[in-house]
């Protein structure tokens, strides 16, 4: 019996295997992963402790064997033969499938300018080890991209290295779905700690010793890191004739147009109620989609619905948010002690997103409650009133 085969042993794929088992699937489950290590969590990679990169395995060999999940690490799937329901593997053999889940994740974009290959990327545990190995006390680091990963890296490297410069093409840091006041506050904290953030700059060339900007400035650089986002790994699906956009196109049940093939996590683009496809690159999305994929691989009819949630840790500050957080907030809740939550609603007054920034996990509870209130029509005055227990709103909704 061919059973379920999962391509990509990351957060989404590996846990989807467990989810399928928990949903009662009794057949064979095989997870194939290109990386050679036991699957690990990526978020800790950019949040190392004094001892270095934190390796947090997603599972153990014992847990895999207890659930009869076969993991084949260090093996890449090179082709999907849909007609024969069979995969070609890098090790030369073929593997049949009854149902297939693609959780191939995403790969970091590399710098397009001449010499861009001098910049390291940051996605895998090997990447992280390389970067931190090269980051000594006298190292001058240049990070390209002031997104979440670039800034998290800056926050940990400024304490270890001689100089940290962050270069951003856009007009401000964290331009993607982080409310501007929060982005500004985080940028200010970086500047206080000595990080040199420059926005609105373009790269002309990278060398082994420098990054040169279009405006002629040269930034002496011992270690350059590209943190300019990721590209979903859709090539395998594309070559098999499956529909792709910025991700492998799936319905809310995470099915592609081939009823035997599913996709989830960073590699997927999921159809939203408005018909468009949404692609997410967050850990909680991988978590939510693996549950749906696992249940449906086991024959269920689960559906994914957003909004997805994310977090980021920089210095003592914790940022969390979900959904759409563009434009003017419907309400601002001041939790005191420098913690603030902003709520966003659509034209109909329904809550569509929230974001919060504050020391450590101060905004966490309100963000969790807000996420459960998504879609509800709420009185902005109540949201803004920090003395109002948000849980009451939840009970009333």
């Amino acid at each position: 019996m061919a059973g379920i085969v999962i391509v990509g042993a990351g957060e989404c794929g590996l846990r989807a295997a467990f989810a399928a088992r928990n949903a009662g699937y009794a057949g064979e489950i095989t997870v194939i992963g290109a990386e050679t290590t036991l699957p690990y969590e990526r978020p800790p990679l950019s949040k190392p402790d004094a001892a270095g990169v934190i390796e947090k395995p997603i599972t153990s060999k014992e847990a895999l064997s207890a659930c009869a999940i076969a993991l084949r690490s260090g093996v890449t799937v090179t082709e999907i033969d849909r007609a024969n329901r069979q995969l070609q593997l890098s090790v030369g053999s073929a593997l049949g499938y009854d149902k297939l889940l693609l959780t191939t994740g995403a790969r970091p974009r590399t710098l397009a300018c001449p010499g861009g290959e001098h910049a390291r990327v940051f996605r895998t545990i090997e990447d992280a080890r390389e970067v931190f190995r090269s980051a000594g006390a006298s190292t001058r680091v240049t990070i390209v991209g002031a997104g979440l990963i670039g800034l998290e890296l800056a926050a940990v490297l400024i304490g270890r290295c001689a100089k940290v410069t962050v270069l951003e093409a856009g007009p401000r840091p964290l331009g993607r779905n982080v409310p501007e006041p929060f982005a500004m506050r985080l940028a200010e904290r970086h500047r206080q700690r000595g990080v040199d953030i420059r926005c609105g700059v373009a790269l002309r060339v990278c060398t082994a010793f420098s990054v040169v900007l279009e405006n002629g400035q040269t930034i002496d650089t011992d270690l350059a890191v590209a943190a300019i986002g990721v590209t979903p790994n859709i090539d395998l699906a594309e070559a098999a004739g499956l529909t792709t956009q910025n991700g492998i196109c799936v319905d809310a049940g995470l099915r592609t147009e081939d009823p035997r093939i599913f996709a989830a996590g960073d590699c997927a683009a999921v159809q939203a109620p408005d018909g468009g496809y949404r692609h997410y690159e967050t850990w909680q999305n991988a978590q939510a989609q693996r549950d749906v994929a696992g249940a449906n691989l086991a024959g269920g009819d689960a559906r994914f619905s957003g909004p997805v949630w994310f977090w980021s840790d920089q210095y003592d500050l914790g940022l969390q948010g979900f959904g759409e957080t563009e434009g003017d907030p419907a309400a601002i809740r001041d939790l005191g002690n420098g913690a603030e939550v902003r709520f966003y609603s659509n034209d109909a007054g329904q809550l569509i997103g929230a974001a919060g920034l504050g020391p450590s996990n101060a905004v966490s509870r309100d963000i969790k409650i807000a996420q459960r209130l998504a879609g509800a029509t709420l009185d902005p005055a109540l949201l803004a009133d920090a003395n109002q227990n948000m849980k009451k709103l939840l009970r009333a909704a």
């Binding site: 847990a63 977090w311 450590s360 996990n361 509870r365 227990n389 849980k391």
Partner: protein, 103 residues
């Protein structure tokens, strides 16, 4: 030796909520359930040692503030990834409007 410690007044904890209680260099979480029972667990998540007090209690589940791991606070059972190690629990009881925990 485990002993009963007076941790707080029952009114110090809202219904379906928790507080942090530090004692003797250790940190605990004390919960009041929706049906007005009291429970006690270790105060730190087993995933990344984060204080659970910033998390959210829904029914009998505490959701960690950091990565949304969930535990049943009555038994300490890990209910949702990324947590996979159970949370230690301790007996709790109410006497004269005070919550006592045995730690």
């Amino acid at each position: 030796m485990a002993q009963w410690i007076d941790a707080c007044a029952t009114d110090d904890i809202d219904e379906e909520d928790l507080i942090r209680f530090d004692h003797d260099g250790r940190t605990f979480a004390i919960y009041r359930s929706p049906d007005d029972e009291f429970f006690c667990t270790d105060g730190l998540c087993t995933h990344e040692q984060v204080h659970l007090v910033d998390g959210l209690v829904m029914d009998y589940v505490i959701e960690c503030p950091k990565h949304n791991g969930q535990f049943d606070y009555r038994t300490g059972e890990a209910k949702r990834a990324p947590v996979c190690v159970n949370l230690a629990t301790y007996p709790a009881k109410v006497e004269n409007g005070r919550v006592l925990i045995e730690v």
